[in-house]
């Protein structure tokens, strides 16, 4: 069933009883050409592009919980392509371009809202770093603007201009940045993949990876063995656990990142704003809740919940940046398990095992990468060759000395 204004009217007039399931609930087949482990945004997008762009027919996504139960449904919904390093910027811009046509392509309104993202800076060295970043964006053809204090004051009068401990000097703006409705991205890809024949198998936990003569032949799951020609791992925070099943040793730590939403409020904050004297970022959802977060809790964790010290720290940064948040009530906090890589950048890569492919290391920035991650991972799996924009995102870059370290923090994941 194609979604449209017409379909809504038609169904409304028939009591809304004729809507069809968004996707099937298939039982696993004995064999798939490609199995993707992980029914989150990246796994679903990969399956969709494998079918849509690379013509594969016999694909399954196996998911231990429900579709979109991981980070795609627990992030702060930010979409942007404002990176500095040549290993990252072309990839994220490719992603941004895919975002811009995604809803029409998927026939699903993911409410992409290009409200503009502004990164604040507070001192000369931050400004210089943003100039470097902005020019790197322009090198890739991505428009960026440097705003001074006066321009910011006009645009975001509620920021702390008068009593800030770390004065706000200006900001880097990417107008095309913004937000998207996170769940809808997962559902849109799921529905579109399903329509192309991809089997989306929920409540199916991978418990082992079967190999014969060094080649992956399938996965053991809670629903039995499923054979495959190629296996793609897109398991985010659980990457190390799944990788271990194939004896992969990975440059990944799992960390918890908390996110927050306030009670619903009338529109007050139009942009996505990130704080430069901390890690705080905030935007307002279409439902009115202010959605925000900051840094990870800092310790390795597989629990989707964090601790109060971090909560307080996030709120302190929020009030530092926008004093008027003080009386706004925070409704809910939650946690996601981040696959933090050793340089803060992702991995879309071959592995030492021929038909096993790896997609991980998204740190806390995987959501915006969803379409490009899916596309590039599909490209890698289908053609067995790296997509040009993802050519730096190799697993062996650490060993070879080609880290992509946007923060310059070195091989300590909790600093990225």
């Amino acid at each position: 069933m194609r979604y449209s204004a017409f379909s809504i009217v038609k169904n409304a007039l028939t009591g809304n009883v004729n809507w069809k399931p968004a996707w099937r609930q298939p039982e696993p087949k004995p064999y798939y050409d490609v199995i993707i482990v992980g029914g989150g945004g990246h796994g679903l997008a990969t399956a969709y592009y494998l079918a849509k762009e690379f013509g594969l027919k016999n694909i399954a996504v196996v998911e231990k919980g429900y579709l979109g139960s991981g980070n795609v449904g627990r992030n702060t919904t930010i979409v942007r392509s404002n990176y500095m390093l040549p290993g990252n910027e072309p990839f994220y811009e490719f992603s941004m371009k895919l975002w811009e046509g995604m809803e029409q392509e998927l026939n699903y309104n993911a409410m992409l809202s290009q409200r503009g993202i502004i990164n604040l800076y507070h001192n000369d060295s931050q400004r210089d770093a943003y100039i470097r970043r902005g020019n790197a964006m322009w090198m890739e053809g991505v428009p960026a603007e440097l705003l001074d204090r006066a321009a910011l004051k006009k645009m975001l009068p509620f920021l702390n201009f008068d009593h800030a401990r770390f004065p706000i000097m200006g900001g880097l703006l990417q107008k095309r940045g913004g937000t998207a409705r996170h769940d809808a991205v997962a559902w849109g890809y799921a529905r579109a993949a399903d329509r192309l024949g991809v089997d989306l198998i929920q409540n199916c936990e991978v418990t082992g990876i079967r190999r014969e003569n060094g080649v992956v032949t399938g996965v053991e799951t809670s629903k039995g063995f499923i054979g495959c020609g190629k296996l793609g791992l897109a398991a985010a925070g659980n990457t190390s656990r799944v990788g271990e099943m194939a004896d992969l040793k990975l440059p990944i730590e799992s960390h918890v990142l908390q996110a927050f939403v306030t009670e619903g409020l009338k529109p007050a904050i139009d942009h996505v704003i990130t704080y430069g004297a901390g890690h705080f970022y905030i935007s307002q959802s279409d439902k009115g809740g202010l959605v925000f977060g900051a840094e990870i809790d800092g310790y390795n964790s597989y629990a989707q919940r964090g601790n109060l010290a971090t909560v307080e720290h996030v709120m302190e940064e929020g009030v530092m940046m926008i004093p008027g948040l003080s009386r706004v009530r925070v409704l809910r906090s939650w946690g996601g398990v981040m696959d933090m890589s050793m340089d803060g950048s992702p991995i879309i890569s071959h592995t030492p095992i021929d038909n096993l492919y790896l997609n991980c290391g998204w740190c806390y920035g995987g959501f915006k990468a969803t379409p490009a991650s899916g596309w590039c991972f599909a490209h890698l799996i289908a053609r067995d060759e790296t997509h040009p924009v993802a050519r730096f995102l190799r697993l062996d870059r650490f060993e070879r000395g080609y880290p992509i370290d946007e923060h310059g923090a070195g091989p300590q994941p909790n600093l990225h």
């Binding site: 040793k249 440059p251 799992s254 390795n300 010290a309 650490f398 300590q412």
Partner: protein
């Protein structure tokens, strides 16, 4: 954890007093060790879901590096010991 850590030198302290570095089971390789051993030491992490040894520093307290043994899923802390004592115990 991690709301409170029982520092073996200072007693029970809130998380805010600590900084966290990462896997404490890693031992810096011998200078002559293989490239692979060095790469693995710097970049590869077992990242278990479950029992884990992690280096925390009591930065706002005694500034000692501690080995915190805890569960990465339940966050239960099993033990906290001094990092130097732990390191001396590791044969090199």
């Amino acid at each position: 954890m991690a709301s409170l850590i029982h520092c073996p030198h200072c007693g029970v302290r809130p998380k805010e007093e600590f900084s966290i570095r990462g896997d404490a089971s890693l031992v810096r390789p011998d200078p002559e060790a293989s490239d692979e051993a060095w790469h693995e030491y710097v970049h590869i992490r077992a990242n278990p879901r479950g029992r884990y040894l992690e280096h925390w520093q009591h930065v706002a307290g005694c500034r000692r590096w501690l080995v915190v043994e805890r569960d990465t899923f339940t966050h239960q802390v099993f033990s906290v010991t001094d990092g130097a004592a732990a390191a001396r115990g590791t044969s090199r």
